[in-house]
Amino acid sequence: MAAKESWNSKLGVILAVAGSAVGIGNFLRFPGNVAQYGGGAFMLAYVISFLIIGLPISWAEWTMSRYGGQRGFHSPVGVFHAVTRKPWGKFVGIIGIIIPVCIYMYYVVVEAWCLGYACNFIADPSVFHTQESVGSFFTAFTGIGADGTAWGMGLDHLGTFLIICFALNFFLIYRGISKGIEMFCNYAMPALLVLALIVLVRVLTLGAPDPNIPSQNINNGLGFMWNPNKTVLVETTMNDAGEPQENRIQLFGRQIQIAKQHFGLEGANETELPDSSAWLEETGIANPAPGTSYRVEEVSALSQLKKPDLWLAAAGQIFFSLSVGFGVILTYASYLKKDDDVILSGLTAVSANEFAEVGIGGLITVPAAFAFFGVTASVGSTFGLGFQTLPNVFGMMPAGNFFGFLFFFLLFLAAVTSSLSMLQPGIAFLEGAMDISRKQSVAILGLITAIGAGAVVYFSGGVKMLDHLDFWGGNFLIFIFATIQIITFSWLFGVKKGMQEAHVGSAIRIPRVFQFLMFLVTPLFLISIFIMWLWDKFAGAGETTYYVTDLFGKNPETGAWAAVAAILLFGLFVLVVTLNSSRYKSYDHGPEQG
């Protein structure tokens, strides 16, 4: 009996760690980022970011958090106060409160989308059977067409589902996750992984769903996702002002050979390929329209890797996915005991997340979208891919309605557990700083996030507020906070002292090379990416990202400014609370807790 209980507890803890690691980002945000930023080159940046910044900062965060928790601090503000022992430390920690709360404001909306889609797969699956119907459903449900159009009750509107999600989240965060719900979630998350594996096998055996378009197949879809080098057909036309405009279309397989033959390029196949004339006619290459010209370009991985946007997105995805730089680990690891294992806990959570993200998520969404719908459907926004293309893929599969319901319902459960973890930093902060009860803290945070989520739902046109909260909170601020964290750990706390602290209670040792990485490579790598990005956007010749032009361009977007206002106003609130709190006035942290 004792041995069986031991195996049960070991499996239980693995399920718990895996459950807290896996979220909707693995299956929705990651594939969308890969497609948006060019596939294989993004993966190169992603892998490098994982090794140099994701893993080291994760360990640093777990360690600093346990250290702060031992001294009675359970929020990012308190942990930074304890670790830095400087007057400014607590103010830096404020970022770790702003990030999870502001992200929660849109995350709960995405959670409601998942629940809504799951219910519609049961109640009215016909909406997912064609591209047109799923597009119409997505537009009506999310309100992406215009501000103020998302709210409404009924199966095809967001209102009911958002109220359910919000109420559920705050009921659970106030009451705490009861043993029953905890056990259910502990098995539901691995069930999500098992289901994802089943979907993965189904997708990888699809071949070419439409025999009339053999180039749209899984192999080419995987190539689009993973191949760092690309061959593109560049179509140049003139706009009304007489300025040249370029449209880039990625080529695959036979298309590359036909194009190279036509343009007499190096590497062209000597033998004429069958049906080449049909493809040349279809693309317009054979008889270009007046004012239109075509050329073929080889885009190397190196040229793509020179774009700072790509690195910022890769680093941002690593941080978001691993919950690094979020403030969440800084809160939860503060509850650990002195001899709890932060290294293996951190590594297991990271590895479970990467297994779900790269091993499963990276092989499902984009290749399936490519096989069914080609390049244009595979490239686009994160949400378009997850909430238009993927449902349509399910809609076209045998038994797809059942799989679609199960997939989105389990994504909803994954989103619930992630939402709860995002709320805890704010709750712990308010309790500690204002010396109030959990009930009062939950009430205050509930009001703040209800206003924020309401604004996200209202400014739904182009999902502008959601998109900007995701960028400025979920990419930009996380990047800054993670950079500050590694500098604090390595240069202020001291990397040697930090490593000693990390190894307390650990079953494994961090490889020595990580000490050098954490001290020098990681901080400099992050600072370099940031400087390159700022230079590219504000001083260089690079194309300005729409995240900046939406704010400062000729036609500013109200939703974009609503997102920035939410971040700044909440930040101001947290700053005022911190300034007036007696909790952080002293550096006498009292005895260490066991």
């Binding site: 239980g12 806990s345 993200e357 805890q424």
Partner: protein, 49 residues
């Protein structure tokens, strides 16, 4: 692709093996599943009201 996928699978399996074969590790490993201590305090407060 094969390298990346293989690497993450192997890393995950290695972590699982380490947890399963290290004595007492299940008591010292955690994710985000721990219930914060203030939840118990709030429940106690609610029960007495």
């Amino acid at each position: 692709m094969i390298c990346s996928v293989s690497a993450v699978v192997l890393l995950f399996i290695w972590c699982l093996v380490k947890v399963l074969t290290t004595p007492g590790e299940s008591e010292h490993m955690h994710g985000f599943e721990q219930e914060p201590p203030d939840v118990a305090a709030q429940r106690s407060r609610d029960a007495h009201q």
